[in-house]
Amino acid sequence: MIKLTHIWKSFGEQSVLKDISTVFEKGKANLIIGASGSGKTVLLKTIFGLHKADSGDIYYDTTLFSSLNPTEQRLLRQQMGILFQGSALFDFATVEENIRFPMDFLTDWSIEQKRERVDFCLKRVNLSNVQRLYPSELSGGMQKRVGIARAIALNPKYLFCDEPNSGLDPQTAIIIDELIYEITQEYQMTTIINTHDMNSVMAIGDKLIFIYKGEIAWEGTKDEVIYADCATLNDFVFASKLARKVKEMHTIS
């Protein structure tokens, strides 16, 4: 579980996050949604500690992140898996070396144990025979899968995904969403996904947080979103004519 209380963040004069308080539950896909520039990525990066909040508290289960010293923060980070928007795979390393990277640094496993774990993670994301390839030799979808494999390499308690299906075709995007969802439930992780993909919202949105101009404008589930009466949310979620018709039909029925 991750709990945020009264998070404020600004860059210079511009206030990006305003009084964000919420709870992300374990074993659920928690989605942060909102238009481009609404503050989603800043919120996600603030949660996992890449940006420091100006004020407010972030609790990882019962641990207050800001109360930890740098060494303790590093130890906590080792329990986090992160999938960056552009996958952020290391150019200088092969797929196997990319997934093995956190194991090389943070574990004392033997090379056989590491190889076994790499094979397991790759199998888990439905990839095979790519161990010796470099990231530049993979398609966008495969890069995302390798990114997920690396994120789950050390069996993290918390998984963060920044726009996991941006730049992917709809079919591959659904596969990636399902994969993240399956992994979340299987390993009972606290997963936070940053997205503006409506397919993701409707498919895996156990919990949705809609950010508008740096504030939480609406909170709910994928089943509640269709009946929501938040105007800014409806403008965002039901932006297309087709989506608006679907909403109207649901509301009437």
Partner: protein, 255 residues
């Protein structure tokens, strides 16, 4: 107005030095895993040093040859022995060319390579990914570069020096401006081994400047590919400036 601009420049300068010092504080820590450090040390040694040797050899051969022609054509006075050509070539190479000018060439090749590599890693979030894994990205990425170049590049100075002398000899043989005996006599005349030490020390310090400053600019690159290009250019400019300033200081201290 001029005062405000000046004080802002001073402030920026202090900020820059502060950021550089903080980065170096994170770089010069005990590696988390020595086995990984040595692996990347040898990778960087190959990339930054070994792959630069052919360029250094070609330039040094050419400069050695040119020095012979220029010195011989300027020493036409019959009272000055011809062996001074060899002596002056040796002194020019050991005192300035094989350390300072080679360092400026390395700054162009290696400095831009380091800054653009780290800059690209920064803007594609690879450095963030390392940090989020709880890994000291500065130590992992920068320390092998600095140690490899600082340890190996003094040898590069020796390679350049020897190639320069060989280039001079080839020109002597090809042009016949002086005899090979005169050239070799000049090379042996008033030989001071300390100059080699001085030049190697200079090269080690220049290498430290090149790798650390380029890493600094690359590590903090921002604003996409344009930012990477800008950081690469800044790295070379600042490195060249610092090499010239430190050359002056080291020469005053050591000679």
């Amino acid at each position: 107005m001029a005062r405000i601009v000046n004080s802002m420049n001073i402030q920026n300068g202090i900020k820059l030095i502060g950021s550089y010092s903080l980065l170096m504080k994170r770089v010069f820590v005990k590696p988390e895993k020595w086995r990984i450090f040595w692996r990347y040390f040898f990778i960087e040694l190959d990339k930054l040093c070994i792959q630069t040797i052919p360029l250094i050899m070609i330039i040094s051969l050419a400069v050695g040859a040119v020095l012979v022609v220029q010195t011989a054509s300027n020493l036409e006075n019959p009272f000055i022995p011809k062996m001074y050509v060899g002596y002056m070539v040796r002194e020019s190479l050991v005192l300035e060319f094989s350390s300072t000018l080679i360092a400026l060439i390395i700054a162009g090749k290696v400095g831009s390579n380091i800054a653009s590599e780290l800059g690209s890693m920064r803007i594609t979030e690879q450095i963030d990914a390392m940090e989020m894994m709880g890994i000291n990205s500065a130590g992992f990425l920068v320390l092998p570069k600095i140690t490899a170049a600082t340890i190996f590049n003094p040898l590069m100075m020796l390679i350049s020096f020897i190639c320069g002398l060989i280039g001079g000899w080839m020109m002597v043989v090809a042009s016949g401006m002086i005899t090979v005996e005169q050239y070799v006599d000049g090379l042996q005349y008033a030989y001071t081994p300390y100059f080699i030490v001085y030049s190697m020390v200079k090269m080690a310090i220049f290498s430290l400047i090149i790798t650390s400053v380029s890493s600094f600019y690359g590590y903090f690159a921002s604003n996409g590919s344009l930012g990477v290009g800008r950081s690469s250019t800044r790295a070379i400019v600042v490195c060249s400036f610092l090499i010239l300033i430190s050359n002056l200081l080291i020469t005053n201290i050591m000679l």
